[in-house]
Symmetry: C2
Amino acid sequence: MHRLALGRFTDFIDISDEERAALDAIAGPPCDVPARGVLHRQGSEIDRVYWLGEGWVSSGVATPGGLQQIFKIHLPGDFVGVPSMAVTRAFETLTALTPVVVRPILVEDIGKLFAQQSRLAAVLFLCVQYERVMLMDRLTSIGRSRAIARLAALLLNLYDRLRSIDPAQPPTVDLPLTQSELGDLVGITAVHVNRKLQELERQGLVARQRNRVDLVDIEGLRRLADLPQYQLRRD
Amino acid sequence: MHRLALGRFTDFIDISDEERAALDAIAGPPCDVPARGVLHRQGSEIDRVYWLGEGWVSSGVATPGGLQQIFKIHLPGDFVGVPSMAVTRAFETLTALTPVVVRPILVEDIGKLFAQQSRLAAVLFLCVQYERVMLMDRLTSIGRSRAIARLAALLLNLYDRLRSIDPAQPPTVDLPLTQSELGDLVGITAVHVNRKLQELERQGLVARQRNRVDLVDIEGLRRLADLPQYQLRRD
DNA sequence: CGCTGTGTTGACAGGTCTCAATATAAGTGG
DNA sequence: CCACTTATATTGAGACCTGTCAACACAGCG
Protein backbone atom coordinates (compact mmCIF):
# COMPACT_ATOMS: atom_id res chain seq x y z
CA MET A 1 0.00 0.00 0.00
CA HIS A 2 1.30 3.36 -1.01
CA ARG A 3 -0.08 6.71 -0.16
CA LEU A 4 -1.11 9.26 -2.68
CA ALA A 5 -1.01 12.90 -1.75
CA LEU A 6 -3.39 15.04 -3.71
CA GLY A 7 -4.27 17.93 -1.59
CA ARG A 8 -4.20 19.00 1.98
CA PHE A 9 -3.27 17.96 5.47
CA THR A 10 -5.10 14.74 5.90
CA ASP A 11 -5.96 13.84 2.39
CA PHE A 12 -4.07 10.65 1.94
CA ILE A 13 -5.63 7.59 0.48
CA ASP A 14 -4.21 4.12 0.29
CA ILE A 15 -3.75 2.78 -3.22
CA SER A 16 -2.66 -0.66 -4.32
CA ASP A 17 0.67 -1.50 -5.95
CA GLU A 18 -1.14 -2.09 -9.20
CA GLU A 19 -2.76 1.30 -9.10
CA ARG A 20 0.49 2.94 -8.22
CA ALA A 21 2.11 1.20 -11.17
CA ALA A 22 -0.66 2.40 -13.48
CA LEU A 23 -0.04 5.96 -12.38
CA ASP A 24 3.67 5.50 -12.77
CA ALA A 25 3.20 4.15 -16.27
CA ILE A 26 1.38 7.17 -17.62
CA ALA A 27 3.58 9.75 -15.90
CA GLY A 28 6.40 11.07 -18.04
CA PRO A 29 10.04 11.42 -16.98
CA PRO A 30 10.98 13.83 -14.17
CA CYS A 31 11.56 17.32 -15.46
CA ASP A 32 13.34 20.23 -13.75
CA VAL A 33 11.98 23.75 -13.60
CA PRO A 34 14.00 26.60 -12.07
CA ALA A 35 12.56 28.90 -9.41
CA ARG A 36 10.20 31.47 -10.91
CA GLY A 37 9.81 29.27 -13.96
CA VAL A 38 6.34 28.91 -15.44
CA LEU A 39 4.81 25.46 -15.98
CA HIS A 40 1.99 26.90 -18.00
CA ARG A 41 0.38 30.25 -18.40
CA GLN A 42 -3.33 30.99 -18.31
CA GLY A 43 -4.79 31.06 -21.77
CA SER A 44 -2.30 28.69 -23.36
CA GLU A 45 -3.22 25.31 -24.82
CA ILE A 46 -3.11 22.44 -22.38
CA ASP A 47 -2.52 18.75 -22.98
CA ARG A 48 -1.08 17.70 -19.66
CA VAL A 49 -1.12 17.96 -15.91
CA TYR A 50 1.86 17.62 -13.59
CA TRP A 51 2.74 15.43 -10.70
CA LEU A 52 4.82 17.53 -8.34
CA GLY A 53 7.84 15.66 -6.99
CA GLU A 54 9.86 18.38 -5.31
CA GLY A 55 9.45 22.08 -4.63
CA TRP A 56 6.57 24.52 -4.28
CA VAL A 57 4.29 25.64 -7.09
CA SER A 58 1.69 28.39 -7.03
CA SER A 59 -1.54 28.28 -8.99
CA GLY A 60 -3.23 31.57 -9.74
CA VAL A 61 -4.65 33.99 -12.26
CA ALA A 62 -4.10 37.61 -13.19
CA THR A 63 -7.29 39.60 -12.82
CA PRO A 64 -8.41 42.21 -15.36
CA GLY A 65 -7.81 44.82 -12.67
CA GLY A 66 -4.11 44.10 -12.77
CA LEU A 67 -4.19 42.28 -9.48
CA GLN A 68 -3.57 38.61 -8.99
CA GLN A 69 -5.39 35.87 -7.16
CA ILE A 70 -3.44 32.82 -6.07
CA PHE A 71 -5.63 29.78 -5.46
CA LYS A 72 -3.27 27.35 -3.93
CA ILE A 73 0.28 26.66 -2.98
CA HIS A 74 1.10 23.16 -4.14
CA LEU A 75 3.54 21.07 -2.16
CA PRO A 76 5.39 17.87 -3.15
CA GLY A 77 3.00 15.02 -3.92
CA ASP A 78 0.27 17.23 -5.36
CA PHE A 79 -1.15 16.97 -8.84
CA VAL A 80 -1.05 20.45 -10.34
CA GLY A 81 -2.82 21.91 -13.33
CA VAL A 82 -5.80 19.57 -13.03
CA PRO A 83 -8.53 22.25 -13.02
CA SER A 84 -7.38 23.42 -16.42
CA MET A 85 -8.35 20.01 -17.85
CA ALA A 86 -11.96 21.12 -17.87
CA VAL A 87 -11.40 24.03 -20.24
CA THR A 88 -9.68 24.20 -23.60
CA ARG A 89 -7.24 26.89 -22.57
CA ALA A 90 -5.39 26.92 -19.28
CA PHE A 91 -7.42 28.53 -16.57
CA GLU A 92 -4.54 29.14 -14.22
CA THR A 93 -0.89 30.09 -14.36
CA LEU A 94 1.43 27.63 -12.65
CA THR A 95 4.61 29.17 -11.31
CA ALA A 96 7.51 27.43 -9.62
CA LEU A 97 8.20 29.17 -6.33
CA THR A 98 11.34 27.11 -5.76
CA PRO A 99 13.37 24.85 -8.02
CA VAL A 100 10.89 22.15 -8.91
CA VAL A 101 10.75 18.59 -10.21
CA VAL A 102 7.56 17.48 -11.98
CA ARG A 103 6.41 14.53 -14.02
CA PRO A 104 4.00 15.40 -16.81
CA ILE A 105 0.83 13.35 -17.36
CA LEU A 106 -1.05 13.67 -20.63
CA VAL A 107 -4.74 14.38 -20.34
CA GLU A 108 -5.62 11.62 -22.79
CA ASP A 109 -3.76 9.12 -20.64
CA ILE A 110 -5.93 10.05 -17.70
CA GLY A 111 -8.89 9.04 -19.84
CA LYS A 112 -7.31 5.60 -20.26
CA LEU A 113 -6.70 5.45 -16.54
CA PHE A 114 -10.40 5.97 -15.95
CA ALA A 115 -11.22 3.08 -18.25
CA GLN A 116 -8.75 0.65 -16.69
CA GLN A 117 -8.61 1.61 -13.02
CA SER A 118 -12.10 2.50 -11.97
CA ARG A 119 -11.30 2.46 -8.28
CA LEU A 120 -8.45 4.86 -8.82
CA ALA A 121 -10.78 6.99 -10.90
CA ALA A 122 -13.22 7.12 -8.02
CA VAL A 123 -10.42 8.10 -5.67
CA LEU A 124 -9.32 10.88 -7.99
CA PHE A 125 -12.92 12.01 -8.18
CA LEU A 126 -13.12 12.21 -4.42
CA CYS A 127 -9.82 14.04 -4.24
CA VAL A 128 -11.13 16.69 -6.57
CA GLN A 129 -14.26 16.96 -4.49
CA TYR A 130 -12.04 17.51 -1.51
CA GLU A 131 -10.21 20.27 -3.33
CA ARG A 132 -13.58 21.75 -4.01
CA VAL A 133 -14.37 21.64 -0.33
CA MET A 134 -11.06 23.34 0.43
CA LEU A 135 -11.91 26.05 -2.06
CA MET A 136 -15.26 26.57 -0.42
CA ASP A 137 -13.39 26.95 2.81
CA ARG A 138 -11.18 29.59 1.28
CA LEU A 139 -14.26 31.29 -0.05
CA THR A 140 -15.85 31.56 3.39
CA SER A 141 -12.53 32.59 4.82
CA ILE A 142 -12.08 35.45 2.37
CA GLY A 143 -15.72 36.39 2.40
CA ARG A 144 -16.38 36.24 6.10
CA SER A 145 -13.23 36.80 8.11
CA ARG A 146 -10.62 39.44 8.73
CA ALA A 147 -7.29 39.65 7.01
CA ILE A 148 -5.36 38.64 10.11
CA ALA A 149 -7.43 35.48 10.56
CA ARG A 150 -6.85 34.55 6.94
CA LEU A 151 -3.13 34.99 7.33
CA ALA A 152 -3.16 32.79 10.40
CA ALA A 153 -5.18 30.19 8.51
CA LEU A 154 -2.71 30.28 5.64
CA LEU A 155 0.29 29.74 7.86
CA LEU A 156 -1.43 26.89 9.68
CA ASN A 157 -2.49 25.30 6.44
CA LEU A 158 1.05 25.30 5.09
CA TYR A 159 2.46 24.07 8.36
CA ASP A 160 -0.05 21.24 8.61
CA ARG A 161 0.58 20.16 5.05
CA LEU A 162 4.34 20.28 5.46
CA ARG A 163 3.97 18.18 8.56
CA SER A 164 1.83 15.65 6.77
CA ILE A 165 4.63 15.27 4.24
CA ASP A 166 7.35 15.13 6.89
CA PRO A 167 6.15 14.44 10.45
CA ALA A 168 9.45 15.83 11.73
CA GLN A 169 8.63 19.26 10.33
CA PRO A 170 9.39 21.89 13.00
CA PRO A 171 6.77 24.58 13.68
CA THR A 172 8.30 26.82 11.06
CA VAL A 173 7.36 27.81 7.56
CA ASP A 174 10.04 29.04 5.20
CA LEU A 175 8.09 31.03 2.66
CA PRO A 176 9.43 31.33 -0.88
CA LEU A 177 6.78 34.00 -1.32
CA THR A 178 6.89 37.76 -1.26
CA GLN A 179 4.44 39.64 0.91
CA SER A 180 2.78 40.73 -2.27
CA GLU A 181 2.15 37.09 -3.16
CA LEU A 182 0.88 36.40 0.33
CA GLY A 183 -1.59 39.18 -0.31
CA ASP A 184 -2.61 37.56 -3.59
CA LEU A 185 -3.33 34.41 -1.63
CA VAL A 186 -5.52 35.91 1.08
CA GLY A 187 -7.01 38.67 -1.01
CA ILE A 188 -5.41 41.76 0.51
CA THR A 189 -2.69 44.27 -0.34
CA ALA A 190 1.00 43.69 0.18
CA VAL A 191 1.11 46.67 2.50
CA HIS A 192 -1.66 45.21 4.56
CA VAL A 193 0.07 41.84 4.71
CA ASN A 194 3.05 43.56 6.22
CA ARG A 195 1.03 45.28 8.89
CA LYS A 196 -0.92 42.19 9.82
CA LEU A 197 2.20 40.04 10.01
CA GLN A 198 3.60 42.57 12.42
CA GLU A 199 0.41 42.36 14.39
CA LEU A 200 0.70 38.58 14.59
CA GLU A 201 4.24 39.06 15.83
CA ARG A 202 3.22 41.71 18.37
CA GLN A 203 0.62 39.32 19.73
CA GLY A 204 3.30 36.70 20.26
CA LEU A 205 1.73 34.25 17.84
CA VAL A 206 4.63 34.12 15.40
CA ALA A 207 8.24 35.20 15.13
CA ARG A 208 9.76 36.32 11.86
CA GLN A 209 13.18 36.54 10.31
CA ARG A 210 13.46 37.21 6.63
CA ASN A 211 11.04 34.88 4.84
CA ARG A 212 10.86 32.48 7.69
CA VAL A 213 7.90 32.44 10.04
CA ASP A 214 8.06 30.52 13.31
CA LEU A 215 4.70 29.50 14.65
CA VAL A 216 5.24 30.36 18.29
CA ASP A 217 1.72 29.88 19.60
CA ILE A 218 0.01 27.37 17.36
CA GLU A 219 -3.02 27.03 19.57
CA GLY A 220 -3.45 30.77 19.59
CA LEU A 221 -3.17 30.86 15.82
CA ARG A 222 -5.82 28.18 15.48
CA ARG A 223 -8.11 30.10 17.77
CA LEU A 224 -7.58 33.20 15.68
CA ALA A 225 -8.02 31.39 12.37
CA ASP A 226 -11.13 29.62 13.62
CA LEU A 227 -10.88 26.77 11.14
CA PRO A 228 -13.35 23.95 10.77
CA GLN A 229 -12.00 20.42 10.75
CA TYR A 230 -13.04 17.74 8.30
CA GLN A 231 -12.81 14.03 8.32
CA LEU A 232 -12.28 12.37 4.98
CA ARG A 233 -14.36 9.52 3.74
CA ARG A 234 -12.01 6.59 3.26
CA ASP A 235 -13.57 4.76 0.38
CA MET B 1 -27.89 12.02 -27.55
CA HIS B 2 -29.11 13.66 -24.39
CA ARG B 3 -27.69 16.56 -22.59
CA LEU B 4 -26.59 16.54 -19.01
CA ALA B 5 -26.55 19.74 -17.03
CA LEU B 6 -24.15 19.71 -14.14
CA GLY B 7 -23.13 23.20 -13.54
CA ARG B 8 -23.16 26.50 -15.28
CA PHE B 9 -24.07 28.31 -18.47
CA THR B 10 -22.34 26.32 -21.11
CA ASP B 11 -21.51 23.15 -19.31
CA PHE B 12 -23.52 20.68 -21.25
CA ILE B 13 -22.07 17.46 -22.44
CA ASP B 14 -23.57 14.96 -24.82
CA ILE B 15 -24.10 11.55 -23.31
CA SER B 16 -25.30 8.39 -24.99
CA ASP B 17 -28.67 6.75 -24.42
CA GLU B 18 -26.94 3.96 -22.58
CA GLU B 19 -25.21 6.39 -20.23
CA ARG B 20 -28.41 8.25 -19.67
CA ALA B 21 -30.14 4.98 -18.83
CA ALA B 22 -27.37 4.09 -16.37
CA LEU B 23 -27.86 7.39 -14.59
CA ASP B 24 -31.60 6.90 -14.62
CA ALA B 25 -31.24 3.46 -13.14
CA ILE B 26 -29.36 4.53 -10.05
CA ALA B 27 -31.43 7.63 -9.40
CA GLY B 28 -34.26 7.12 -6.93
CA PRO B 29 -37.86 8.27 -7.41
CA PRO B 30 -38.65 11.98 -7.63
CA CYS B 31 -39.17 13.52 -4.23
CA ASP B 32 -40.82 16.82 -3.30
CA VAL B 33 -39.37 19.31 -0.87
CA PRO B 34 -41.28 22.46 0.13
CA ALA B 35 -39.73 25.92 -0.06
CA ARG B 36 -37.31 26.55 2.82
CA GLY B 37 -37.04 22.80 3.35
CA VAL B 38 -33.62 21.36 4.11
CA LEU B 39 -32.21 18.53 1.98
CA HIS B 40 -29.41 17.98 4.39
CA ARG B 41 -27.71 19.95 7.10
CA GLN B 42 -23.97 20.41 7.53
CA GLY B 43 -22.57 17.91 9.97
CA SER B 44 -25.16 15.20 9.40
CA GLU B 45 -24.35 11.77 7.96
CA ILE B 46 -24.49 11.55 4.20
CA ASP B 47 -25.22 8.58 1.96
CA ARG B 48 -26.63 10.29 -1.10
CA VAL B 49 -26.51 13.19 -3.50
CA TYR B 50 -29.45 14.73 -5.34
CA TRP B 51 -30.33 15.31 -8.92
CA LEU B 52 -32.29 18.54 -9.02
CA GLY B 53 -35.31 18.33 -11.30
CA GLU B 54 -37.21 21.51 -10.48
CA GLY B 55 -36.69 24.55 -8.29
CA TRP B 56 -33.76 26.39 -6.79
CA VAL B 57 -31.50 25.05 -4.05
CA SER B 58 -28.81 26.90 -2.11
CA SER B 59 -25.63 25.31 -0.85
CA GLY B 60 -23.88 26.98 2.04
CA VAL B 61 -22.43 26.79 5.53
CA ALA B 62 -22.89 28.64 8.78
CA THR B 63 -19.62 30.19 9.92
CA PRO B 64 -18.42 30.16 13.51
CA GLY B 65 -18.94 33.91 13.57
CA GLY B 66 -22.67 33.43 13.19
CA LEU B 67 -22.62 34.54 9.58
CA GLN B 68 -23.33 32.38 6.61
CA GLN B 69 -21.56 31.75 3.34
CA ILE B 70 -23.56 30.50 0.40
CA PHE B 71 -21.45 28.74 -2.23
CA LYS B 72 -23.84 28.26 -5.03
CA ILE B 73 -27.39 28.59 -6.18
CA HIS B 74 -28.32 25.36 -7.90
CA LEU B 75 -30.77 25.41 -10.75
CA PRO B 76 -32.72 22.55 -12.37
CA GLY B 77 -30.44 19.93 -13.89
CA ASP B 78 -27.69 20.32 -11.34
CA PHE B 79 -26.36 17.60 -9.11
CA VAL B 80 -26.40 18.92 -5.57
CA GLY B 81 -24.64 17.73 -2.45
CA VAL B 82 -21.73 16.20 -4.36
CA PRO B 83 -18.91 17.97 -2.46
CA SER B 84 -20.10 16.37 0.75
CA MET B 85 -19.24 12.96 -0.74
CA ALA B 86 -15.60 13.58 0.06
CA VAL B 87 -16.13 13.91 3.80
CA THR B 88 -17.90 11.67 6.27
CA ARG B 89 -20.25 14.36 7.50
CA ALA B 90 -22.04 16.81 5.26
CA PHE B 91 -19.91 19.82 4.52
CA GLU B 92 -22.73 22.03 3.37
CA THR B 93 -26.34 22.71 4.17
CA LEU B 94 -28.71 22.33 1.21
CA THR B 95 -31.81 24.47 1.43
CA ALA B 96 -34.73 24.60 -0.99
CA LEU B 97 -35.31 28.19 -2.00
CA THR B 98 -38.48 27.27 -3.86
CA PRO B 99 -40.61 24.14 -3.93
CA VAL B 100 -38.23 21.53 -5.28
CA VAL B 101 -38.22 18.13 -6.93
CA VAL B 102 -35.11 15.98 -6.53
CA ARG B 103 -34.09 12.43 -7.26
CA PRO B 104 -31.70 10.93 -4.69
CA ILE B 105 -28.62 8.99 -5.81
CA LEU B 106 -26.80 6.80 -3.32
CA VAL B 107 -23.07 7.36 -3.03
CA GLU B 108 -22.34 3.66 -3.30
CA ASP B 109 -24.20 3.53 -6.60
CA ILE B 110 -21.95 6.21 -7.98
CA GLY B 111 -19.07 3.88 -7.23
CA LYS B 112 -20.75 1.24 -9.39
CA LEU B 113 -21.30 3.82 -12.09
CA PHE B 114 -17.57 4.49 -12.16
CA ALA B 115 -16.87 0.79 -12.66
CA GLN B 116 -19.38 0.32 -15.45
CA GLN B 117 -19.45 3.62 -17.31
CA SER B 118 -15.91 4.87 -17.44
CA ARG B 119 -16.65 7.51 -20.03
CA LEU B 120 -19.45 8.88 -17.92
CA ALA B 121 -17.10 8.80 -14.94
CA ALA B 122 -14.61 10.89 -16.88
CA VAL B 123 -17.34 13.35 -17.78
CA LEU B 124 -18.39 13.64 -14.15
CA PHE B 125 -14.77 14.17 -13.24
CA LEU B 126 -14.51 17.02 -15.72
CA CYS B 127 -17.74 18.51 -14.47
CA VAL B 128 -16.41 18.63 -10.98
CA GLN B 129 -13.24 20.23 -12.26
CA TYR B 130 -15.40 22.81 -13.90
CA GLU B 131 -17.17 23.47 -10.64
CA ARG B 132 -13.76 23.90 -9.13
CA VAL B 133 -12.92 26.47 -11.78
CA MET B 134 -16.17 28.28 -11.05
CA LEU B 135 -15.28 28.35 -7.37
CA MET B 136 -11.87 29.79 -8.18
CA ASP B 137 -13.69 32.43 -10.11
CA ARG B 138 -15.83 33.25 -7.12
CA LEU B 139 -12.71 33.35 -5.02
CA THR B 140 -11.06 35.96 -7.22
CA SER B 141 -14.32 37.82 -7.42
CA ILE B 142 -14.70 38.04 -3.65
CA GLY B 143 -11.01 38.55 -3.06
CA ARG B 144 -10.28 41.10 -5.73
CA SER B 145 -13.36 43.07 -6.68
CA ARG B 146 -15.85 45.46 -5.16
CA ALA B 147 -19.21 44.50 -3.77
CA ILE B 148 -21.09 46.11 -6.63
CA ALA B 149 -19.13 44.18 -9.23
CA ARG B 150 -19.82 40.94 -7.39
CA LEU B 151 -23.51 41.65 -7.32
CA ALA B 152 -23.47 42.36 -11.03
CA ALA B 153 -21.58 39.12 -11.61
CA LEU B 154 -24.10 37.19 -9.55
CA LEU B 155 -27.07 38.55 -11.46
CA LEU B 156 -25.40 37.82 -14.79
CA ASN B 157 -24.46 34.34 -13.71
CA LEU B 158 -28.03 33.49 -12.74
CA TYR B 159 -29.40 35.04 -15.89
CA ASP B 160 -26.96 33.18 -18.13
CA ARG B 161 -27.72 29.89 -16.43
CA LEU B 162 -31.45 30.40 -16.61
CA ARG B 163 -31.08 31.16 -20.28
CA SER B 164 -29.05 28.05 -20.88
CA ILE B 165 -31.92 26.06 -19.37
CA ASP B 166 -34.56 27.98 -21.30
CA PRO B 167 -33.34 30.03 -24.27
CA ALA B 168 -36.56 32.04 -24.14
CA GLN B 169 -35.66 33.36 -20.69
CA PRO B 170 -36.28 37.13 -20.64
CA PRO B 171 -33.55 39.40 -19.17
CA THR B 172 -35.09 39.11 -15.74
CA VAL B 173 -34.19 37.24 -12.59
CA ASP B 174 -36.89 36.51 -10.07
CA LEU B 175 -34.94 35.96 -6.89
CA PRO B 176 -36.37 33.67 -4.22
CA LEU B 177 -33.64 35.10 -1.99
CA THR B 178 -33.65 37.76 0.70
CA GLN B 179 -31.09 40.54 0.52
CA SER B 180 -29.46 38.95 3.50
CA GLU B 181 -28.95 35.76 1.49
CA LEU B 182 -27.62 37.75 -1.44
CA GLY B 183 -25.10 39.11 1.00
CA ASP B 184 -24.20 35.60 2.10
CA LEU B 185 -23.52 34.80 -1.54
CA VAL B 186 -21.24 37.70 -2.34
CA GLY B 187 -19.71 38.08 1.09
CA ILE B 188 -21.19 41.35 2.28
CA THR B 189 -23.83 42.60 4.69
CA ALA B 190 -27.53 42.71 3.95
CA VAL B 191 -27.49 46.46 4.47
CA HIS B 192 -24.72 46.81 1.96
CA VAL B 193 -26.55 44.65 -0.54
CA ASN B 194 -29.44 47.03 -0.34
CA ARG B 195 -27.30 50.08 -0.98
CA LYS B 196 -25.44 48.52 -3.88
CA LEU B 197 -28.61 47.28 -5.53
CA GLN B 198 -29.87 50.83 -5.36
CA GLU B 199 -26.64 52.00 -6.91
CA LEU B 200 -27.05 49.51 -9.76
CA GLU B 201 -30.53 50.89 -10.25
CA ARG B 202 -29.37 54.51 -10.11
CA GLN B 203 -26.81 53.73 -12.79
CA GLY B 204 -29.56 52.40 -15.02
CA LEU B 205 -28.12 48.90 -15.11
CA VAL B 206 -31.09 47.16 -13.50
CA ALA B 207 -34.67 47.86 -12.53
CA ARG B 208 -36.28 46.33 -9.46
CA GLN B 209 -39.70 45.48 -8.22
CA ARG B 210 -40.10 43.27 -5.22
CA ASN B 211 -37.75 40.30 -5.61
CA ARG B 212 -37.55 40.69 -9.32
CA VAL B 213 -34.54 42.26 -10.99
CA ASP B 214 -34.67 43.30 -14.64
CA LEU B 215 -31.30 43.43 -16.32
CA VAL B 216 -31.72 46.66 -18.23
CA ASP B 217 -28.20 47.15 -19.50
CA ILE B 218 -26.62 43.72 -19.76
CA GLU B 219 -23.54 44.97 -21.55
CA GLY B 220 -23.01 47.55 -18.87
CA LEU B 221 -23.39 44.91 -16.20
CA ARG B 222 -20.83 42.70 -17.89
CA ARG B 223 -18.43 45.60 -18.14
CA LEU B 224 -18.91 46.27 -14.44
CA ALA B 225 -18.61 42.61 -13.43
CA ASP B 226 -15.54 42.17 -15.61
CA LEU B 227 -15.95 38.43 -15.97
CA PRO B 228 -13.62 36.10 -17.80
CA GLN B 229 -15.12 33.71 -20.32
CA TYR B 230 -14.25 30.05 -20.56
CA GLN B 231 -14.64 27.48 -23.23
CA LEU B 232 -15.25 23.94 -22.12
CA ARG B 233 -13.28 21.01 -23.36
CA ARG B 234 -15.69 18.70 -25.11
CA ASP B 235 -14.11 15.36 -24.52
C1' DC C 1 -55.61 44.38 13.70
C1' DG C 2 -51.03 43.57 15.50
C1' DC C 3 -47.02 40.29 14.39
C1' DT C 4 -43.03 39.23 12.12
C1' DG C 5 -39.86 39.16 8.50
C1' DT C 6 -37.88 41.96 5.15
C1' DG C 7 -36.47 46.22 2.99
C1' DT C 8 -34.73 51.01 3.56
C1' DT C 9 -32.23 54.85 5.57
C1' DG C 10 -28.86 57.40 8.50
C1' DA C 11 -24.77 58.06 11.46
C1' DC C 12 -20.66 56.37 12.78
C1' DA C 13 -16.54 53.27 13.47
C1' DG C 14 -13.22 50.38 11.69
C1' DG C 15 -10.91 47.83 8.08
C1' DT C 16 -8.48 48.06 3.98
C1' DC C 17 -6.58 50.46 -0.06
C1' DT C 18 -3.82 53.97 -2.34
C1' DC C 19 -0.04 56.72 -2.81
C1' DA C 20 4.34 57.89 -1.62
C1' DA C 21 8.59 57.85 0.86
C1' DT C 22 12.22 55.36 3.06
C1' DA C 23 14.83 51.27 4.59
C1' DT C 24 16.62 46.93 3.87
C1' DA C 25 18.05 42.90 1.37
C1' DA C 26 19.56 40.61 -2.83
C1' DG C 27 21.89 40.63 -7.17
C1' DT C 28 25.13 42.35 -10.72
C1' DG C 29 28.94 43.93 -12.92
C1' DG C 30 33.17 46.15 -12.20
C1' DC D 1 35.44 43.16 -2.54
C1' DC D 2 32.81 47.37 -3.65
C1' DA D 3 29.45 50.49 -5.98
C1' DC D 4 25.31 50.24 -8.22
C1' DT D 5 20.80 48.54 -9.37
C1' DT D 6 16.68 46.28 -8.38
C1' DA D 7 13.32 43.96 -5.68
C1' DT D 8 11.23 43.66 -1.44
C1' DA D 9 9.95 45.26 3.19
C1' DT D 10 8.45 48.93 6.19
C1' DT D 11 6.15 53.16 7.59
C1' DG D 12 2.87 57.10 7.43
C1' DA D 13 -1.22 59.87 5.94
C1' DG D 14 -5.47 60.13 3.97
C1' DA D 15 -9.53 58.39 1.31
C1' DC D 16 -12.72 54.92 0.40
C1' DC D 17 -15.32 50.75 1.23
C1' DT D 18 -17.82 48.07 4.25
C1' DG D 19 -19.66 46.80 8.83
C1' DT D 20 -22.39 47.89 12.93
C1' DC D 21 -26.13 49.66 15.26
C1' DA D 22 -30.48 51.53 15.40
C1' DA D 23 -34.62 53.35 13.69
C1' DC D 24 -38.34 53.22 10.60
C1' DA D 25 -41.33 51.62 6.48
C1' DC D 26 -43.66 48.15 4.34
C1' DA D 27 -45.55 43.67 3.21
C1' DG D 28 -47.56 39.25 4.18
C1' DC D 29 -50.17 36.72 7.45
C1' DG D 30 -52.44 35.01 11.45
